[in-house]
Each structure stands twice: as C-alpha cells, then as structure tokens.
Symmetry: D2
Subunit: 341 residues, 4 copies
C-alpha cells in the first residue's frame, strides 16, 4: 500500500509523533510505502513530497513542530482539488491519504473523501475543541506549559501583593484555561463559553485580600470576553491601540483591574510558547496511538473516518462527526472548577 501523509493548520506538540507512528506501523508492520507532503495541502497540490522511511522519522518522537511543515488552507485550491481528486490520487499513486489537522483540515478531508479520495483523518487541535474525541494531542502539553507559568507567577505575585492575569490559548473553547486554571489553582478563570462580569472578579480579589491573602491569579482564555458594559476603563484605553492583537483580553483585564482595585495588576500573555517544544508523555502516547490506528483503518479500507479517543480506546468516527460543532466546556465542568466566572 502507498500512504500519503500531511500536516496542516497551526502546529501542535505531537505532530511528529503521529508521523513517526504512521511510518513505523506502515513500513515496519505492513511493508507499505509512505509519502510525506510538504506544507500541508499545498504540497499535495504542488506535488512537493518525499519518501518517509524509518530513518526519516528517527529521533522525532519528542520533537515539537512538524518535520513536514504546515500551512493554512486556501479554499479556492481545495475546490479545484476536490474536482480532480481521483486523478490526484492516481497521479500521485497513493492508495490513501492521512491528513493530520484541525477542524478546517478535517472539513477539507471530508470534501476530498466525498469526492472519492480514500482518506483517514487524524484530529489535531491544541484547544481540545473537536467534538468527536475525548482528547487531542498537544492539549496536555499546552496545559502543562500554562500550569508551570501559573505556578511561577504565584510566588512572585505573593511577594509583591499583586494581581496577575495570565492569558492562555483558547479562541472558541476554554479547555486550556479551565484545566491550567484548575491545575495551577487560579483564583479566577474566564472562558469564552461564559461572559464574565469584571465586578465579580473585583469582588473576589477584594474578598481574598480582606482574608489576609496577598495576591490573586486570574487565568483567562484569549477568547474570553466581558459581559456587556462590565469593563469601564480599559475599553477606552484600548481603543487607542494600533494593533488589536497585541492588546488582547489579558492586557485589557489587567488594566481594568488595576484601575478598579487600586492594586498592581500585571498581564502575562503566554502566546506561542504553549504550542512549541517537546510534547508531554501523554501527548506522545496519544499521538502514537492515533498514527497506529490510522494505518490499521487504511488497511481495513475504513475510509472517510478519523481516529478518536473514547475512554481508554481509540475508535474510528465519521469525519462528519468531527466538524459539526465545536466541543465547548460544559456547565458541569465549570461547576467542578468553582473559580470560573
């Protein structure tokens, strides 16, 4: 069998572990040939690819990023690809394509699959927001990085009687904020799923200080937003920022809290540090299992599906299930965390 593999979308610790696992299982286990496309679908359409043998994936298990490169999808080119998908597969001589990517990639994969290209997907989202799987690789690493940062900030906040606002990833779903906030023991957690009232945060901090606690840490997802009218000061101040992306909710919230509380408040924006570097053991295992099962599915002819973790097992679920709706943090998980605002 000849298998094509590509990585698309934002990068995520564990991508290389999937690639390695696909190659190990396919080449050593099934005597297959594996072709890696460069820079995601671009490489597929432009014919930029290289053979991946055991040596090509040696030493990459613990390495962040992706040895194949990645790129965002261009819709126009995708449509064109769908139309000629069968020719594409024939020209490339591949029997099955294994795209590793997020919601956009999986949607594209479904279109290619519907158009006749045999596809087995592997879900990838650092935000953990794909519905059809309990967890995705990369998420555990991001939570680990964010938690370590909160651990560090607590000691410095305490020494200086400060409020620290840590902004973590999570544009549409607040899983990273929820879990790193819980793991780091943040006193407030703000998620995209529930608009927060700044007054509640102010009250929480004041209550802490009144009990003799000398600091507070608030963990806020980049996609969280204040309830309408709840932010007074920062709004105006922020309108003057030239580059909106450099004044995200973490910065705004710190400005607002400092004004209202009359105490030092400082934002820390973790940013891309969460995406990079060595994946945790958890993510390496999950990524490796996804790769293994993708190859097995390909050999069973189980196309149009993707790998998914359900409890402790890996199942194959229809690509359609993955892209219907985002997996958001449900109310009961917020209840457990208690500090969600």
């Amino acid at each position: 069998m000849r298998i094509g593999v590509l990585t698309a979308g934002g990068d995520c610790p564990g991508l290389n572990a999937v690639i390695r696992s696909v190659v190990h299982r396919a080449v050593a286990g099934h005597n297959d040939e594996v072709i890696g496309f460069e820079d995601g679908f671009k490489g597929l359409l432009d014919g930029r690819h290289r053979k991946l043998d055991l040596d090509a994936v040696s030493g990459i298990l613990a390495r962040g990023g992706t040895i194949l490169g990645s790129s965002r999808l261009e819709r126009a080119r995708l449509r064109e690809a769908c139309e000629s998908s069968k020719e594409l597969a024939r020209d490339l001589g591949i029997d099955v394509l294994i795209p590793i990517g997020g919601e956009g990639t999986l949607t594209a994969s479904k279109m290619l699959s519907d158009a006749g290209l045999p596809v087995v997907g592997v879900p990838k989202t650092i935000d953990n927001d794909i519905s059809a799987t309990d967890r995705t690789f990369g998420f555990d690493t991001a939570v680990g990085v964010a938690t370590e940062a909160i651990d560090r900030l607590k000691t410095t906040a305490e020494s200086h009687q400060r409020v620290m606002v840590v902004e973590v990833m999570g544009r549409h779903a607040g899983w990273i904020a929820l879990e790193s906030g819980m793991a780091g023991g943040a006193h407030g957690i703000c998620l995209p799923e529930r608009p927060f009232d700044v007054a509640d945060l102010v009250a929480m901090v004041e209550e802490r200080f009144s009990r003799g606690k000398k600091f507070a840490v608030i963990c806020v997802a980049e996609g969280a937003h204040p309830a309408e009218g709840s932010m007074e000061y920062a709004k105006g101040a922020i309108d003057q920022f030239g580059h909106e992306r450099f004044a995200g909710i973490g910065t705004k919230l710190a400005v607002e809290l400092e004004k209202r509380l009359g105490k030092e408040a400082r934002p820390v924006i973790l940013g891309h540090v969460q995406r990079g570097g060595t994946p945790t053991a958890y993510d390496r295992v999950l990524a490796t299992r996804f790769g293994w099962h993708a190859v097995e599915a390909a050999h069973r002819g189980d196309f149009g599906k993707m790998t998914a973790l359900k409890g402790t097992d890996i199942h194959m679920v229809p690509l359609a299930d993955a892209v219907t709706e985002l997996k958001r943090v449900p109310e009961n998980r917020m209840d457990e965390a208690e500090s969600v605002f």
Copy 2:
C-alpha cells in the same frame, strides 16, 4: 456536615490535591467541617486527627506526598474497627469518611461501609491498575518522570553504543512501562502481563545494530519476568545477591544481555523518584475533580462508592467494582505499542 478524610498506602503525586479539593468544596462550598486523620487508618483508630480549614490546605496543590501522612493497613486492627464502626463514627462525630487509597484501602473501606460507616472512596494507585476507573492520579506523573529518564538515557546510550535497561514501577500491571516505553520510544518493553523471552530481546538488539543503529533502550516493569528457562547467565549470578530487592529484573536483565550480546548493557532503576514531587497538570486536575465529586456524593448520601473517571466524566461506582480484579494491560494495547515482548 462533618467529613473525615485520610490517605493510606504508598504515596502518590496528587494526594494533597485531593485533600485540598475536599476541603475547598466542603468548607467553602457547603460550610462543612473537615477532619484529617493522621497516618491513614492508624490515625482514625488512635484518634489522631486535626481540623482542616482553608488555611490548612493553602499552597499544597502542587506539592507531592501527603500532608496527612500515610501508613500500611494492619488487618487485625481493621477487623476490630469494622466491629465498632458505628461507635467509631459517633465518637468521632463524623458523618462520612473519605479514605483516599489503593486496593487495600478500598477493600477496607468497603468493609467499613458494609459495617455501617458512611464511606465515599477516592481511588489511588500510581500503577493505574484499579479496574473501575479509566485512570488514577499519580500515574501521569510517574509516566512523565520515567519518560524523561528514557529521553536522557537515549542520548548517552547512543554516544557509547550501549544497551540501557530502565526498570520502572508496576508490580502486577505494566501500565507505566507501557506508556513510558511508548512515549520514550523504547525499543523493547517488558510487562508483568506477558513473560518475555530474552532471546527475542537479544534478536531485536542485534537486528538494530545490524541496521547501523548504535544503541537500544529497554523499558521493563519491576514485575515483569522472563519466560521459564529464557534467562541463562543472570539467574546464577543473582542467586548470590543477599538482598533480592536490590537486584530486580532490570539488573538481572542487564547482566544477561551483556553476557549474551557481548556489548555493554547498563541497568537504571528509577525507583522512588517516580512517586514523589510535583504532580503533572493532568494529575492535579483529576485529583481535584475526584475530591470535588467525593464531597458531592457525600452530600447526596451516595455511600459505599468511589469516584471514577469514565471518558471525560467522573462517575460514582460501587467500591466492590474497584476491588474485584486488577486492571491489566490488555493485548490490544500491547499490539499498539509494537515493541512489547
């Protein structure tokens, strides 16, 4: 409500996170009173306990060990406790006991529960071998420590053309060896669940060296054992060891491989390092959720059960389910890992 909490058995990263979570939920959420018993059931029987308020659990979320201390169970005293369990609860004035512990502790908890003491258990096993829950806290930390060790050993093994044998925890179940072996990319994994033939390991190493690879790493659970007759040299050598516990399977296997291969082989016994220290974010979240749900179950009067992770949710399962049989690594998980011998 007056809640008693204790930790028993071998320690495990995340114990303090459970204690903290129980206190936070009970005291701040329900206005309960929490009593911590010292050194496990011993403290319960001897009446050594102290009040746990919010200040008592401040700063312990990320700390390894247990602030309550722990001890192994004495069967005789347990029986006596069961007989007088109702008096015990009345004397101590507790409405519910939350024991956090492994199989032995849960068995004892079931006996106390059957005898009439209201009990809500929290499972604890660093080996991840309790049947009724997908995962237990502490396991992820242990896997992380073992994986980092394998990462480190690979570079040194490669530079010196050596075989490294890493012995990790897992007396009856090989989960730590399986997952750290997969995450670290070990070339051989030996589990208690399947006797291994040393000849197979020898063949694997020789095949690697014949392909130009200059090292091999083998991850072996402390409870793994060779197929009968498969170990020639080490057996005799080992009979001379005065203290069997200092010459575990890792040491024996290294001796055997060195003799057979004619190459340097070195054992590394990770030991207690796997048990201690700061829990990973994953373990802190799981432990915190367990604590929260234990208190909620107590308030619902859902006694005789323990918290359990099923997929992404926490359920309450009968204590009886937890202690029927050990959760061992199944064949399909060994297949995925490929390098299991």
Copy 3:
C-alpha cells in the same frame, strides 16, 4: 547574637534559600537568634517582625518568592531611619542587620551602615548587573526559563515560517538576553548596551531565508532600543498605545519586522514568569553560600560589606563597591555570542 534579616526590592528565585541559610547557620551553627522583618525596610521601620527558628524555614529552600514579603524603598523614611539608626538597632535589640536586596537596597544598607547600624548585605538582582560579584542568584533561573521558552518557540516558528521576537528581562543590562539568546541559539540578540539597527536584523532574517532556513528567533532585552531613526513603521503605530508598558520593545520590533519583511512576526513577552518559581540548583547553592557567609561575616564583625562570588569563592566586598556602577555586558562577551546586533 541577635540577627535581623529582611528582603527588599523585586523578588528573585533564591531569596528563601538565603533566609533559610542564614537561619540554619545562625541558629544551628552559632546558637544565635534570628528576627525576620516583614515587607522589607517597611517592617524594620514599623516594627513588624517575627522570630525565625529552624521550623520557620523548613521546606522553603526550593520555593520561589520570599516568605518575609518585600516592598520598594521609600526614600523619606530611609533618611529618617538613618538618623535614628542606632536607636533603631537598640530598640529592636539586634546586633546586626542582613538586608537582601538589589542596588537600591544596598545603597540604603550602606547609608544605614555609615550611620552606625552594623550591616552585612547580600546582593540580589535577577538581571545580574551588580558589579562587585561574578554572579547573583535568581539570574540562572531567569535564564533557564527564557531558554526553555526559546527552545519551544523554535519548533513552532519553524513549522510556520515565522519570525519570533522574545522579550526578556534586563532594563539596564542585557545579561539575561545574552545568555538565554546564546543558550537558545537565537539568531539575533538585542541588548541595552548597544543600540541595534533594525536594518541589520532584517538583513539577517532575509539571509537566513535565502539559505533555505524557514524561521528566525530574536531575543531582545526589555531595555534594548533601536538606533535612532532605524525603526520606521512601529514608531508611529506605537505612539497610539495608551499604556507604554504594554507595548515594549518586543512588540514594537515584531510590528516593524513584519512590515519590513512581509513575513509573519510575533512577539512573546515573557514577563514575570522569569521571576517566579523554583530556583535552579545553581541559584540554590549560590544563595545558600551567600547566607552562610553573611552570618560568618557578622560573627567576625566584618560590617559594611556584602557577600560576593569571585571565581569559585565567596568574598566579602565593601557595600560601596556594589553600588558605584552597573555591571554591563562588555564587548568581548558580545563578540563571543556573535549574534548580538
């Protein structure tokens, strides 16, 4: 002997290790009494202090922050303190004061010392910019945190063909940028000691991409600044920022590079994460040695001096030497790093 100890200024990993070491040496070694003042000089002047015995410093060696709290110095109160320094010492019944702090604290310490209060100082600066000592504790931890961030950013930058600009601490001296830039293999390092020309950075990045390299990482100290006229675009954009501190050199430089290069450039501002958390082994050892030698100096009556690392030994140097001029990165160290702009 009765020894007073306090921590002042910005916090720094290792402060607790110094406090612990002072108490261990004084109490266990010399049978002294140790008094800890709260929140720096404030606690000294307000009479807020507590006894520090062996139990009080148990478990703090690896903890970030300072158990004594810290605060910035108020000049007016300092002058007042100097005038009444002898009464102060007599009222408090202390034979010697050990202030642990940065340039401001050491200047104050010198004034108090000149006014007659027996003082032995311990230098503290996370920026490593105190002249009279080879290194200060906290610096190694900060460099470690920054280096790990650069390691992580490299893999994500490479996968997305991006330029990452990492802003690290260092207002007046660029030691953290120099060493984390070298350790992380940053392609450009910008220091306060040498104004950088943006055109040179642009040329470096373009040269890299022309050689097929797909990313670049630039490490910039918060106090670095562009040569006059060398920043075209960001300057205007930045004038609109309401809060200058939230648009530091890292953000400006990323904006500028993105405009000039036509490639994605992203800032990562590490901020307070560098100050907090568990100190590295190096910092714990240095801090412990400083504490030990400070107590020995006190017992020798070697006042008006501070501890200093010279090569491998700890010496006592006059407080005056510490505060004359900042230790800046010299030209030869920039030469070694090669990538300094």
Copy 4:
C-alpha cells in the same frame, strides 16, 4: 584553516554545543573548513571523518550526547599516533586538532601536542574535577538532574517516614554530591574526599526523628567510602554480590542504615540519567564559549593549551596544568555545606 574536532571519553551534556560552536565560529566567522572525527581518537587513527558545515550542526545545541560518537582511548594506539603525529596531520590535511575530552583525553592531547601536532583542547568532565578551570560544562546539568531527584524523594520520604539514600556520580571528586546535596537540602552528604563514619549518619537521623522530623535524605557520591570499621552489617551482605558495580555505596549504606536504625531505608541510584539529555542553559553557554575560544586560539597559533573558565572570563591554560592533579572538594566548601559527614 582546516580544523579537526573530536569528542572522547564518557559523554556529557554540552558536547554538541561545543561542536556546533566550533563549526559556527570557524566556518561562518573565519571561512575555515571543519572535519569531525568519529568515535574519538579511533576515528582520527582510522581515518573515519566527515566534513562539518553549518547544516551538519543545525539543531544540535540542546541535544545531549555527541553527534560524533565517542570512545575510550587505547594507550598502544596513542603511542603509535604520537610517533607519526606530524604525518598524521599532514595526511589528514589538518592545521589544528580540537579534542574535547576529560583527563585522559587531555593527557593524550598533550602528548600529541608535544610530538608536534598543533592542538587546542576543550576540557570535559561531568564530575567538575579538572583543576585548571573553575567549572566544566555538563556538571550543571548533572547537578540539576540530581537535585530534581532529591526534591522528588523528599516528599515521598516524608509521607512514609523513611531514610532515602541517593547515590550520585563522582568517583574521585564529590562536586555533584556537594552541590546537589546543598541544592536539594540533603541532611547528609558523603564525599570521596572524606571517609564518613556511619555512626555519625545514624546519630544525625536519630536526632532528626527525635525533633519530630519524619524523614531524612542522604546524598552520597559513588566514590564515597565509609571510615574503616564503621560499616557493620552491609559489609558481609555485600560480599555475596556477584557484580560489585550493581551494589555500590548507596545500596550498601541503605542496607546498613536500615539495620542500625530499625527504620526503612531505601537506595536510589541515579546512574546514567545524570549524563544524558538536554543541557541546562548554563552548560550550553559555557560549552559555546569554550568552542568559540578554541577556534580563536587556533587562529592565534596558541597551541598546547586548553580553554578554561576563570571567574567570568575564558582563558587559555597549558594542557599540562589540567592533568597534574584532580580538583577535589576543599575543606571550606564542606564547611559551607554543613551537612557533609
């Protein structure tokens, strides 16, 4: 200029950083050509070498081990090499050889240098025991690994009222035990430099337990040894061990302490984990500086010397100075640590 480089002896985190730095400085800075010899002096004598350009050293800065491989020196072949050293250099067309290695390697380098081969050495010892330099790379990483292990062991020891004996590297000099013991807050430190009396350790542990402390951690260098006659029980037990290297001082001491104290004592032998993996930022900087200065010395014709850290600067010192005597832990450093037995 044509530069040869090789790595010899036991591996050490930072070797790759030196190689990378030599190549960067030589190729990018001086337009030199660099040849890497494989497996140490063996590759030099057998003519196994490869060209090292910028791409060859890409991505190795943070990687443990050595991309060139290493091997122990064979005395006979060395003598032969010395006799024909000039022919050797001429045949290989190298103008200077940069060997990176420990005492043995530096001795060999001196012989080759005396015989007429232009040599610039770079010292390497994870034990930090080379006299002519304040520190060597790799040492900081080893101390960091050992310290993290002690941190982890403390929490587990405390929960179980145990004595933990951690055996770290250091055959002839106890630097790793000294610094990791201080950084980890070990209650006892045993060094090769001073025979320890087991009775003193027993007294220390008993005194701790009498003060209500529930555990003790002892850090022992692999080369430490008990004062004559001070070990009663373990001696006999150990005589039965077939493989002396698997029953080092750590194991013996744990056996002995358990017998004498009547308390659980457990050995943890860190072993090769200390040698491998990503070097700390400190080690990467030092290694990079050594590489840079070695190339500069080569261009100045400053042969027969090696790089050395003195205070904050790198100096060139005669190879002879490096190999006269081992740098052992002096008395005053033991005094500072206080817990040295």
